[in-house]
């Protein structure tokens, strides 16, 4: 590293690692608070798995015995500590509904959810950024308005509605399957094909937000003296936007992308239900219905983790995109 950066590359890397470590530490504190909130919220849920499983005809004695067996008769702080202790050792406990270890139950579902989220992100992030660049290039034109109208419409309709419209348009005519069932033997291409409709639905739902932030962040910079300078150097409008405005607009764009990716992981229950996709969201909703408390808690905690990690990533990337922070005087 040349001397003029005042700081060697190693120092820069070190300060980034320190920042990551500090943010991870804060993330752990956040997760601890979240675990308290989750536990408290679940405590407040009406109903009881023992009554749920044993049915209406059960005598109070059998219900009480079953509760004792599941450990539900203990005071809540003891149950919380036991739960937390288990998680710290990597043990999420067992499902009350079917007795299987929760980690097994969740692992498959989580990878399905991540797959769908990545699939949708792989389409929507490049799409949103390219559209954002194009509409800021042709701002206030007919094209700008049309893109805004379409993306805003797709974000304004409820997800299930978008999903059903897509099923009517693309599935009934036989192009794509409406049931996104996954079979273990399917090839990657086949899986992509089967899950195309849910991925497209999610793309339509998240693109508008990211596209509009890209547009706003770029247009916000167009009045800057360095953009005027770029114009006075005779550069083409496209180059001005991509080379001169976009690099300075990354920080807000990255943050909105992170928020939307978190939404893709945690907020897709409705889409999973419509397309009968075996994801984590659906598991959580089912478990709430069954009062399968440990599964609900584990799923909620994983969602919280996704938020913490994605926001951490966004912060690190925003820092990396700013030469003022990387190359100090």
């Amino acid at each position: 590293m040349p001397f003029w950066d005042g700081q060697s590359r190693g120092d820069v890397l070190q300060s980034i690692w320190i920042m990551i470590a500090r943010r991870l530490g804060l993330g752990l504190v956040t997760l601890f608070v979240v675990s308290l909130l989750i536990f408290a919220a679940v405590e407040m849920l009406p109903g009881d798995i023992a009554e749920e499983i044993l049915g209406q005809s059960a005598t109070p004695e059998t219900v009480a015995a079953f509760r004792r067996e599941l450990g539900l008769d203990l005071p809540s702080y003891q149950r919380y500590l036991a739960w937390l202790g288990g998680i710290l050792q990597g043990d999420f406990g067992t499902s009350l509904a079917n007795g299987r270890p929760i980690s097994d139950l969740i692992a498959g579902r989580l990878s399905n959810t991540l797959f769908l989220a990545l699939y949708a992100a792989a389409i929507s992030v490049p799409l949103a950024i390219s559209l954002g660049i194009l509409v800021s290039l042709y701002r206030n034109s007919l094209f700008d308005r049309a893109v805004n109208l379409i993306t805003l419409s797709s974000i304004s309709f409820p997800e299930f509605f978008v999903a059903y419209i897509l099923i009517v348009l693309l599935s009934q005519s036989g192009y794509f399957p409406s049931l996104a069932t996954l079979s273990p033997g399917a090839t990657f291409a086949e899986t992509l094909y089967r899950t195309f409709l849910p991925a497209l639905t999610l793309t339509l739902v998240v693109t508008a937000h990211m596209m509009r932030m890209t547009r706003a962040a770029i247009i916000n910079l167009l009045a800057s003296p360095y953009i005027e300078m770029a114009r006075l150097k005779g550069l083409s409008p496209g180059r001005i936007i991509v080379k001169h405005a976009l690099p300075n607009a990354f920080a807000p764009i990255i943050n909105v992308i992170a928020l939307n990716l978190a939404y893709l992981i945690t907020g897709v229950v409705v889409v999973e239900v419509v397309f009968v996709y075996p994801g984590l969201g659906q598991l959580m909703v089912d478990s709430v219905a069954k009062r399968d408390i440990p599964v609900v808690q584990a799923a909620a905690l994983i969602f919280a983790c996704a938020y913490v990690l994605l926001n951490l990533t966004a912060d690190v990337l925003s820092t990396l995109s700013n030469p003022r922070l990387i190359h100090t005087r």
């Binding site: 003029w4 770029a230 006075l232 150097k233 005779g234 550069l235 001169h244 690099p247 030469p323």
Partner: protein
């Protein structure tokens, strides 16, 4: 393209430019014409709002958002830029006409290294490859006398000082060896000592490449060094134009004469204060630091009643930091600040309301120092209410009285928002707000440096008058020695956080000086067209003499 030497390079004929404000178009430039020959430098001068920058940009066929060329023509080397399609203009911009902006710090893209921004125009215009352009950058950096020309291009803009950035920007404008460069106040944001280096470098390189230039500035002495001819503008109209020497020797129009006259204003110096008298403010052996970096070293000076002490120095010399120590924003590591003989608590949080009331501040940027959502009446009324507890009619009377003191008609101004005021009026409101607390001392931090000379003079006169009426003591922070001449009784010269020299103004402006004071004084441009040449020669001779001994 053929280059013939007898046709002018640039001809602007009867150019009208309008700007839009509140849905109506009003004139910014009203029928100005000019011609510029190859290799010639034309100086455009005028106050802000004269339309200098708008005209300069129009010479490139460019108007800012919200402006339009309504009639007239701009012909550059046979091409009419007003009617030309964007592509034709883009072809000329950056390659044959280049621009150097006022704030280099804002006009370099913070995301790219200097050299990448340098090579961009030659590569995009297809005049040279990236490697050739990069080699050329090093050469031009050297000609602009930038330190470490081989490597400075690999820095990001924020890693380079303001004066160096301004030179790097001039080098960048030279990248395609343009026929014409528009310099838009390139040294206005710089200290006098830095300004000299930049002026010398610009003049040198424009000479070497025989580049024609339009040099825009509000500083007459600067334009006298740079231009062959000078054109004076006032509110979008041409006042007069003449060869530089003729213009300086005998300006024809009254307005031009008034511009020349501004510099002659000077306050009669008060006699040295009686040393036995208790100073209003006494800064004693103050040492202060931001984090681990010491920025003030053993700073001491006194300010007496009815006296103005000017604190002078380049940016980074610790002037404003001293003000922060006095106001308690930055508790010092060592030393103390006495007010009327008793020590002020180091931190403003532990000072009493009365202690806070007696030292007030006026800021450089009245724009950002006034709350844009409050009316003048609210802004001035708040300290009256807060410090003096006046309410109702008494409060209204006091605010009206304060506005009268700063020569603004209360009936007209009470309900206005800062956005409805001119720069000078905003600064007056800033003064009224400071007076509202009935202070004994006011710290003025570069209060006139954002204003035009004529407006600035009005502010200085007002401050002078108020001092006499209200027995105020002023600490006047400035980097402009002309302002010091105009307002100070005593001068404190600071450099790198230390007091270099202090004393009565008359003593300060008579030799012998401390070397640094000498450097500051000799760096103030004078209205003599040969001043820069002579000064550079003198300094070179001195350096030679020094190296021989």
């Amino acid at each position: 393209m053929t280059k013939t030497s007898n046709t002018p390079l640039l001809t602007i004929k009867d150019l009208y430019i309008e700007g839009r404000a509140d849905e109506t178009w009003s004139g910014i430039v009203n029928g100005v014409s000019l011609t510029l020959n190859r290799g010639e430098v034309l100086g455009l001068i005028g106050e802000s709002g004269a339309g200098k920058s708008t005209l300069g940009l129009a010479a490139m066929g460019y108007t800012r958002d919200g402006c339009r060329i309504s009639s007239g023509s701009v012909t550059f080397d046979g091409t009419d830029l007003v009617g030309a399609p964007g592509k034709t203009k883009r072809h000329l911009l950056g390659s044959r006409i280049a621009y150097v902006a006022q704030s280099a710090a804002a006009s370099f893209n913070p995301a790219h290294r200097l050299i990448d921004q340098f090579t961009e125009a030659p590569v995009q215009h297809g005049t040279s490859s990236r490697d050739v352009a990069a080699k050329d950058a090093v050469d031009l950096y050297q000609r602009m006398r930038l330190p470490d020309p081989e490597t400075i291009g690999f820095r990001y803009p924020h890693q380079v000082s303001g004066g160096q950035l301004q030179r790097a920007m001039t080098a960048m404008a030279m990248a395609c060896r343009p026929d014409l460069i528009i310099f838009d106040e390139p040294t206005t944001a710089l200290d006098v000592t830095t300004q000299i280096e930049v002026l010398a470098a610009i003049r040198n390189i424009v000479d070497q490449f025989q580049t024609a230039a339009i040099y825009i500035t509000h500083d007459l002495a600067v334009v006298a060094q740079m231009a062959d001819r000078i054109k004076v503008l006032l509110r979008g109209d041409e006042v007069e134009e003449a060869e530089t020497a003729a213009m300086l020797a005998s300006p024809q129009e009254d307005y031009t004469k008034s511009l020349w006259a501004v510099r002659s204003h000077a306050r009669t110096e008060q006699p040295a204060a009686d040393r036995a008298e208790m100073p209003v403010l006494s800064v004693q052996n103050v040492t202060a630091a931001y984090g681990p970096i010491k920025v003030l070293h053993d700073v001491s000076f006194d300010i007496h009643k009815r006296r103005t002490v000017a604190v002078v120095g380049e940016s980074g010399s610790g002037k404003s930091t001293t003000a922060r120590v006095i106001t308690g924003l930055l508790p010092p590591l060592e030393g103390q600040v006495l007010f009327n003989g008793s020590a002020l608590p180091p931190n403003y949080k532990t000072r009493s309301g009365d202690q806070l009331r007696k030292v007030q501040m006026i800021y450089q940027m009245a724009d950002t120092a006034l709350n844009p959502k409050q009316t003048v009446g609210q802004i001035v009324g708040r300290p009256v209410q807060f410090y003096l507890g006046l309410r109702g009619q008494a409060l209204r009377d006091r605010v009206a009285e304060l506005l009268n003191m700063i020569e603004l008609e209360p009936g007209d101004f009470l309900e206005r928002l800062p956005s409805e005021l001119s720069g000078g009026q905003k600064q007056r409101v800033g003064i009224a707000r400071a007076l509202a607390a009935e202070p004994q001392m006011i710290i003025c931090d570069e209060v006139t440096s954002a204003l035009d000379q004529i407006v600035a003079e009005g502010i200085l006169k007002l401050l002078d008058r108020l001092q006499g009426e209200l027995d105020l003591a002023y600490m006047f922070i400035t980097h402009d020695l002309a302002t010091v001449k105009a307002i100070a009784d005593e001068v404190v010269v600071m450099q790198s956080g230390k007091v270099i020299e202090q004393g009565q103004k008359s003593a300060m402006f008579t030799p012998p000086h401390d070397p640094y004071t000498e450097l500051l004084l000799s760096s103030v441009p004078e209205m003599d067209p040969d001043w820069l040449t002579d000064l550079l020669k003198r300094r070179a001779d001195d350096a030679n003499a020094y190296s021989k001994t």
